[in-house]
Amino acid sequence: MTIKIAVIQFPGANCDLDAVHVLNDVIGVETSLVWHNYFKEADFDGVVLPGGFSFGDYLRAGIIAAHSPALDEARVMLKDGRPIIGICNGFQILIEAEFLPGALLQNESLKFICKWVNIKVINNKTAFTHKMKQNEVLAIPIAHGEGRYFTDNLKELEENDQVVFRYSTETGNYESAANPNGSLDNIAGICNLEQNCIGLMPHPERASEAILSPKGTEHGRLFFDSMVEFIKRRIR
C-alpha cells in the first residue's frame, strides 16, 4: 500500500509548493497539493499545513484558515492518530484551531525575521522527531513576523513533554541571543498530548537539501523521514 500525504493549500499559503517538492522529489513519498475546500481526510495518511500567509494573516495569523472545512477533516485525523505537521503559518493555524495550545504573537522586534537558526530537540518521541536524537541541534531557517510563542500554562506543557524544540546556540545553549523572536522559554515547536501533531515556526522544507543550507546540512529531512516511518508503522 502506498503512503499518501496531503499538503493543504489555503488561500495565501506560499510554502505549499516547497513542501510538495521536498516530499515528492527529495523524500520520495506520494504527495498532493490539495485546495483547502476540497480536502478529504479519508484519502490521506498524513497532512502538512504549509507556511505562508493564509488569508493574508489578516486579523491574526492563522485565525481565518482555522475556520476552513479542511481543519474539520484534519480533526478526524488528529483523533485517530495520523500525523499532522504545521509549519510556520501551519503552526499558527493549528494553534488557532486549538489542535495545539498557546498563542503565537508578533515578534518582539516587531519585524519579520528571515534567518537560519538552531533548534534543539527536546522531545524525540513524536511522529515527526523520532528519527532525531534527544538534545541534537538542528540548523533550520525561520521566516515569520508572528512567531513569539506564549502560553499561560508552561508548566503543564513541560510536564506533558509537549515542548518539542527550543531555539538554542549551535552548541545547544539557550542564550537570549539565540532566541530570534522572544518566544517564552525559547520554545520553537510543540506537540499535542498524543504526539501525532506538531507545530513549529522553523521551516524544515527549506532545510532538506544540502544545496540550500549554509553548512550543507539536511536536518529538515528528519521531519519527513520520521513522518513516513511513523505512517509505515501505523499501517503495519
Binding site: L59, R60, I63, A66, H67, I95, E96, P101, G102, A103, L105, Q106, N107, E108, S109, L110, F150, T151, D152, G182
Partner: protein, 89 residues
C-alpha cells in the same frame, strides 16, 4: 420586529503577561524624543468597528460577544476583548 443598525467598536489587547511590544516601542520612542514626559502609560491593540442589525443594544452586544467567542476573534490565552462603544447609526 424592526431591526436597528448598531455600530460597535471593539479592541483586542494582549494580556499583560503576553507583553505589548508595540506600546513598549512607542514609549521608548517617546522617551528618546523627550518632551513627552506627560505620558505615563501606553497600551496598544487591534481595533474593529462593526456595523450590524439587531433588535436592541442588548442583543447587539450579545451578538458581538457570541461572535467574538465563536469565531475566536480574540485568542483567550493571550488577549482581552473590550467592547468600547455601541452606537445606534
Amino acid at each position: 420586529m424592526a431591526q436597528i443598525e448598531f455600530e460597535i467598536e471593539i479592541s483586542l489587547e494582549n494580556k499583560p503577561a503576553a507583553r505589548d511590544p508595540v506600546a513598549e516601542t512607542i514609549q521608548r520612542d517617546l522617551l528618546a524624543k523627550k518632551g513627552y514626559d506627560q505620558v505615563s502609560k501606553v497600551r496598544s491593540g487591534q481595533y474593529l468597528r462593526i456595523n450590524l442589525l439587531a433588535d436592541s443594544e442588548e442583543k447587539a452586544k450579545e451578538l458581538i460577544t457570541k461572535m467574538c467567542n465563536d469565531l475566536r476573534i480574540f485568542n483567550p490565552v493571550t488577549q482581552i476583548l473590550n467592547i468600547i462603544n455601541v452606537n445606534k447609526v
